[in-house]
């Protein structure tokens, strides 16, 4: 099963992450602002992938259908997260645009437009495939208040289904597309590992 190889490669790379102490509010907010900067691009990335997915194989059509549904599901999540932060006195615009966020989303623009739109599956596998556990969300809510965790909770509750969907799509991809999916997943996971080490070094 190709999805299993992708999953284990992602786990292998993410396991090199530096600890991100989410119980520390400053760290949690930094993580959320980083994610806000990343997910601002999510909808457009999915739209780009849909526009570029013009093949007529069964897989192309299935990918198009999957992405069209997913694009609707991801709508306005950046606005939700912005509201969570604002309600807790955090102005995300007060933060610089983080280079790793730009690199991570920017890599996808390149891959989707210049390599193959299927690359987005590797990206989605990393970002949706390993949601924070609900018991962790509860601990974080106790510590920081529920309003800061609304969007993260939504993802913790829903990304388990999304995870299943994305890995199912990855499994159905033809062999000649495996390489690009794997590369996309690896690069995304590396960006995350790198940003966690940056944070650790700067905290």
């Amino acid at each position: 099963m190709f999805a299993e190889s992708v999953k284990s490669k992602i786990e292998e790379i993410l396991s090199c992450s530096a600890p991100v102490e989410l119980m520390n509010k400053e760290t949690l907010v930094l993580n959320l602002v980083f994610m806000l900067q990343v997910i601002k691009a999510s909808n457009n990335l999915i739209k780009q992938a849909i526009l570029n997915d013009r093949g007529c194989s069964n897989f192309d059509m299935e990918l198009n259908r999957y992405l069209t549904i997913h694009e609707k599901e991801e709508e306005d999540h950046d606005k939700w997260l912005e509201r969570d932060l604002a309600d807790n006195g955090v102005n995300p615009e007060g933060y610089p645009i983080m280079r790793k966020a730009v690199e991570m989303a920017g890599t996808q623009y390149y891959m989707i437009n210049h390599v193959h739109p299927v690359a987005i599956l590797g990206y989605m596998a990393v970002l949706e495939g390993f949601p924070v556990g609900l018991d962790v969300i509860e601990k974080l809510e106790e510590e920081h208040g529920k309003s800061l965790l609304r969007t993260l909770r939504y993802h913790a509750e829903n990304d388990l289904d999304h995870r299943e969907d994305v890995f199912k799509m990855i499994d159905s991809a033809p062999d000649d597309l495996h390489d690009i999916i794997m590369q996309s997943a690896i690069q995304t996971a590396i960006y995350i590992v790198e940003v966690t080490h940056q944070w650790r070094n700067s905290m």
Partner: protein
């Protein structure tokens, strides 16, 4: 800027800026890291676990990914057995700090761990 300086948010860039000020050779952080990781790979004869077909034209990037994995295995092995610890000299100091590697890092590397509060929180 909510109290974050460039040095905190862009440590690699600032590291290079310092090198320039000191008239030291400047390498792109990724090149520096890859070089260090590649050297480490040679020392440990780490076997590439990737499907060779996946390497293709992105060998360097994939190599970095595999190198990170290899280091994780070394860290974990060193921590378990108290030997084969990766030393600070052999690694790119700015990215991975083996001198500060501790039990928490080991636990972190043991699994990605959805149930932990000290991990990156991702979403799409």
């Amino acid at each position: 800027m909510n109290g974050y300086s460039d040095n905190q948010l862009y440590p690699q860039f600032m590291d290079n800026r310092q090198s320039m000020q000191n008239n030291q050779p400047v390498m792109a952080p990724d090149v520096k890291r890859r070089n260090a990781l590649a050297q480490q790979l040679m020392q440990t004869n780490y076997q590439n676990t990737m499907n060779p077909q996946s390497v293709g034209g992105q060998q360097a990037q994939l190599g970095a990914g595999n190198a990170i994995s290899g280091l994780a295995q070394q860290f974990a092995a060193g921590n378990r057995m108290g030997q084969n610890r990766v030393t600070g000299d052999s690694l790119y100091q700015g990215q991975f700090k083996p001198d500060t590697f501790d039990a928490e890092d080991a636990a972190n590397m043991a699994n990605v761990g959805a149930m932990r509060t000290n991990r990156f929180a991702g979403m799409l």
